[in-house]
Amino acid sequence: MPDSIVEVKNVSKIYKRDTMDIPVLQNLSLGVPEGEFLALMGPSGSGKTTLLNLIAGIDRPSSGSINIAGTDISTLSESALAKWRSRHVGFVFQFYNLIPVLTAYENVELPLLLTDLSKADRKKHVETALGVVGLSDRIHHYPKQLSGGQEQRVAIARAIVTDPTIIVADEPTGDLDRKSAEDVLALLEQLNQEFKKTIVMVTHDPAAAEKAHKTRHLDKGELSMN
């Protein structure tokens, strides 16, 4: 997988429940080339979100290695991994996960607080990101003042504001009506095509998967090609 920006090699993930070992991923390997829009599909419990969490660096594999843009993140310390996430990963969650007490502007600014950017530079970045998702007129709104689709667009603005190496999206349309889902998918497609962003998306929705370049199916912790 020489051109892959995401290289997952022989990764297994076993959860421990009391004394029981529950294997979720088994010896899984996956490569995602730079600029790809990959959809991960599969039944509930197949391990797709676990794989996404491992790629995003919020979980660690039981064995195997995960290399993102030349960094083996499975060897990073917890603190270094947090720093790495802030620079390289943009998150889009099913339920948007915006901070309810912060405005759209402040939510999008959050990841930039972990950079050395000045306030003025942060402002420029936030306004650009909110402009890309078409919410320049909603910057001072709180999440509860926005529709579900708008909230998810703010979340996407938050995911792209640091210009991350990859965007991970976990069921980004799972909580949206059809129209809003289409808008969000169109936005992800635009990010991929126009801004060459690498996107890994977990979805149950075949319509969402259709927008991706490639779809991989996970079943019982193992990958199969679509």
Partner: protein, 391 residues
């Protein structure tokens, strides 16, 4: 860069009632804490204001207060010959040989047998001059040689039968009240003053209680003190700067109030800290997904710990602010109690100082920190994946 303060501050108001009740709990503790310190400080202020920098006071060595002290007429006369004492316009040493005694009077609203001790101070004309803070507010000065009295305003306001023109009976005589006086913040405001000679005679006293003198120069005090320590005629006596004497007098009562009050507030504070802890645990439980999100975005555990601790400190400091403002209103109050060193009534106010404000803020910060630490630590320890799933 940390999680913005606005996150911690605004999050407080997402659960308004709980936050408000927790703040109220902290405010109550902060109020009691401040009130106790203001009271102890008020006592110190009152007693220190009783003394003057320019005066020195002589008492019997073993006496802890003026009422317990005895100075014989011979000793008093010898003291009067010391050159360190300033001389008045009449060519006589500027000093007052005073006699203190205690009488029983009834406070307004007290029962027939519920009497309080009040100090009666027999003074000389110099005694009046040495206490410039004592000013007549009503009536006139008592006449030397007559059974007349003037009453400090704290006694006039609180006790029965203290009106001008009324008579009170003690030591087998009827004494007429001819004036009321104000003594600023000093303890003299809780005295009744009369002519030293009349009081000596009425009580058949053969000795004075204390001697207060104006020194020629403040620097002469150490020379005079050395003399008191080495001259056998003064063997049984001690001399102190008047201000220091009254400051020491205040210590027993103010320390008692401080210690008792602080012990009570510390016990109260456990309640407030547990309240803050419950509130913060609830906040962490309600915001688990938010914590997971912040951690996923790259905020470190210590940033999450800091954000929640700051939230707890906000609660504590808001509580402290409210407690302090409420306590400020106590400055308008005056209360009285029995001074342990003289066993007589003393009135004092609540005095706020910058150091009390700082102490209260530090105490509240400590409450916020202790109450908030465990929940914040729990927030910081949350596993990201589990936290995100909990939504």
């Amino acid at each position: 860069m940390k999680i913005p303060l606005s996150y911690s501050f605004r999050s407080l108001w997402t659960r308004k009632l709980t936050t408000f009740l927790t703040i109220a709990g902290v405010a109550l503790v902060a109020f009691v804490f401040t009130a106790v310190l203001m009271l102890a400080n008020g006592i110190k202020d009152t007693m220190v204001a009783t003394g003057s920098d320019d005066n020195a006071i002589v008492l019997r060595k073993s006496a802890e207060s003026e009422t317990l002290s005895i100075i014989t007429f011979d000793e008093a006369n010898t003291i009067g010959t010391q050159p360190e004492i300033a001389v008045g316009s009449d060519g006589q040493p500027l000093m007052t040989k005073e006699v203190l005694t205690i009488i029983n009077l009834r406070k307004h609203g007290a029962g027939p047998s519920d009497l309080s001790n009040v100090t009666v101070r027999g003074v000389t004309p110099d005694g009046v001059m040495l206490r410039p803070q004592v000013k007549l507010t009503e009536g006139r000065m008592f006449n030397f040689g007559a059974s007349e009295l003037i009453v400090g305003n704290e006694i006039a306001d609180r006790f029965d039968g203290m009106e001008i023109g009324k008579t009170i009976k003690f030591a087998g005589r009827l004494w007429t009240i001819v004036g009321h006086f104000d003594a600023g913040k000093s303890g003299f405001a809780s005295d009744i003053w009369g002519d030293q000679n009349q009081i000596l005679q009425a009580f058949h006293r053969q000795a004075y209680s204390s001697i207060v003198m104006r020194l020629r120069d403040k620097k002469d005090f150490s020379a005079l003190k050395t003399k008191f320590e080495s001259d056998p005629r003064f063997n049984d006596l001690k001399i102190e700067p008047e201000k220091q004497f009254y400051a020491e007098q205040s210590e027993t009562l103010s320390n008692f109030i401080s210690i008792l009050g602080i012990v009570i507030t510390v016990i109260f504070s456990f309640g407030a800290m547990i309240g803050a802890m419950i509130t913060m645990y609830a906040a962490v439980a309600n915001r688990t997904v938010e914590i997971g999100t912040l951690r996923a975005l790259g905020f470190q555990r210590r940033s999450v710990l800091g954000a929640f601790l700051i939230e707890s400190l906000f609660i504590a400091l808001l509580g402290a602010g409210i407690g302090l403002v409420c306590a400020l209103f106590l400055s308008f109050l005056t209360i009285s109690t029995t001074d342990f060193s003289s066993f007589s009534e003393i009135a004092f106010g609540f005095t706020m100082t910058p150091s009390i404000v700082i102490s209260t803020l530090v105490f509240a910060t400590l409450m916020g920190f202790v109450g908030g630490f465990l929940p914040s630590f729990r927030a910081a320890r949350l596993d990201i994946v589990n936290a995100l799933r909990s939504g």
